[in-house]
């Protein structure tokens, strides 16, 4: 299994928030790699968009939990995503859209 991280360009004049989309599959065989990659990015504010993953299990959710607990991280799961129900069972905060997640990380 493999996943891919795609970093989206920031909007011009926008705040320094990194937006990264995860594509592919994440399970116990590669979750450690995901943690490594996200931990590097989570130095600043980070939006992680899960909407495009094909498979994402508890090993992946554990990574999100760890990364979120150590930095300013907001997770996006679009309503039609395959992980939407699993995400809602996990009791971790998430947003429907990248814009909503980005807004949550801006200073109030």
């Amino acid at each position: 299994v493999s996943f891919e991280l795609v970093t989206l360009p920031s909007p011009p004049g926008g705040q320094a928030i990194t937006v990264v989309q995860i594509r592919g599959d994440v399970d116990a065989s590669n979750a450690a790699g995901l943690h490594e990659a996200l931990a590097e990015l989570a130095g600043g504010a980070l939006v992680v968009d899960l909407s495009g993953v094909g498979y994402f299990d508890s090993a992946g959710f554990a990574v999100l939990d760890r990364v979120s607990s150590r930095g300013r991280v907001a997770v996006v799961v679009a309503p039609a995503s395959v992980v939407r129900k699993a995400m809602s069972l996990m009791n971790l905060p998430f947003y429907d859209t990248i814009d909503a997640a980005r807004a949550s990380l801006l200073p109030a």
């Binding site: 299994v1 599959d25 399970d27 116990a28 065989s29 498979y55 299990d57 508890s58 090993a59 959710f61 554990a62 939990d65 395959v82 129900k85 699993a86 069972l89 996990m90 009791n91």
Partner: protein
């Protein structure tokens, strides 16, 4: 401790083939157990060397002739080929192996007969039974057992066989381990069993419209392939794609637990997946079996992440059942398939 002369063996012979036997040494106690132990080893060795049931029992017969106490031992030997969906078998004076198809049908494999092992009469020595062949469709169970399972005082052997077939038909869609347990429980007489009993059930890897059976080496890297094969079956079933994703995820979580906690991530150990579709209730039942006892399972491992997996399993499946026994751990989940309309199913070639 009670010991006896009944045995079974399961010997992997290759990626698609497994040898299985059940046998019975005359007598009881330590002497019978010592003879049994030798026969069992020779049988497994002969299976690895030959792979042909008649040849295997031929070797066992010649060995038994020189082994005090082995005369008139009986054995049934079968080689299952899951790739071809076939079973090759021979019986030496032993009760017939039974095939139980996933629709509840039963069929005794009553060919390939030869006299008991180690008999010295001229007729017995020259009787070289040929290997008999039969089909073993996907989802079916092959059952080998010893006569203690079917014999009851005051009852003919035929009545015992009829009873076993009737009871076994009701176990057709149980996972193999559960089928053995259920058969042992349901075949016992009012006072239990009068004799020793050995029983072994094999369900070959393979997929049909009604069932999906997989054997997964216990390594995380094997999970994606197993999920893909399960997904392929759910597509054939025309399961609703959202439901299919949930079935794949909840099965994936159970599989990850079986690999990590039930098998210590040892790829030489195998995790079994046995899934059945129930068209009447639009559900699938998936059982994941491992050979472990979850020895290192603890509150610490729960908090470290397994709790999250269990939350997913219980949140996605409508029913979850865990059985931990001597032979390992078995988790059965039931999920809705939300199948498309029958017309759509037909169009899929179902």
């Amino acid at each position: 401790m009670r010991v006896g002369g009944d045995w079974y063996t399961v010997t992997p012979l290759g990626p698609d083939r497994v040898g299985v036997s059940a046998g019975d040494v005359a007598g009881h106690g330590l002497d019978a157990a010592a003879v049994m132990s030798q026969l069992r080893s020779v049988l497994a060795g002969a299976a690895l060397a030959s792979g042909d049931p008649a040849a295997i029992l031929g070797v066992l017969d010649r060995y038994a002739r020189g082994l005090p106490g082995a005369a008139f031992a009986t054995a049934a030997c079968a080689v299952v080929n899951s790739g071809a969906g076939t079973v090759a078998y021979t019986s030496a004076g032993h009760p017939y192996p039974l095939v139980i198809t996933s629709d509840g049908g039963t069929r005794y494999l009553d060919g390939g007969r030869r006299p008991p092992l180690g008999a010295r009469s001229a007729a017995a020595v020259t009787a070289a039974a040929a290997t008999e062949r039969d089909t073993l469709p996907p989802g079916s169970l092959l059952l080998l057992y010893t006569d203690g399972l079917v014999e009851r005082r005051g009852e003919s052997l035929d009545a015992g066989f009829a009873r076993l077939a009737a009871v076994a038909g009701g176990c057709a869609r149980l996972p193999a381990g559960a089928a053995c347990a259920a058969l042992l429980a349901r075949m016992a007489g009012p006072d239990g069993y009068g004799d020793d009993v050995a029983i072994v059930a094999v369900r070959p890897v393979g997929t049909s419209a009604a069932s999906h059976v997989d054997a997964v080496p216990a390594a995380f890297t094997e999970m994606a392939g197993a999920r893909g094969r399960l997904r392929g079956w759910l597509e054939v079933l025309a399961a609703d794609p959202v439901q299919a994703d949930e079935i794949v995820l909840s099965t994936g979580e159970v599989l990850a637990n079986a690999i990590e906690h039930g098998s210590d991530c040892d790829p030489d150990r195998i995790v079994g997946i046995e899934a059945f579709a129930d068209q009447d209730t639009d559900t699938v039942t998936v059982t994941v079996s491992d050979s472990g006892r979850w020895a290192k399972d603890s509150a610490a491992s729960l908090s470290a992440g397994r709790g999250r997996g269990l939350t997913l399993i219980h949140g996605l499946a409508s029913n979850v059942r865990t059985v931990r026994g001597t032979f390992g751990t078995r988790v059965t989940i039931t999920c809705r398939t939300g199948q498309r309309a029958p017309a759509a199913r037909k169009a899929m070639g179902k």
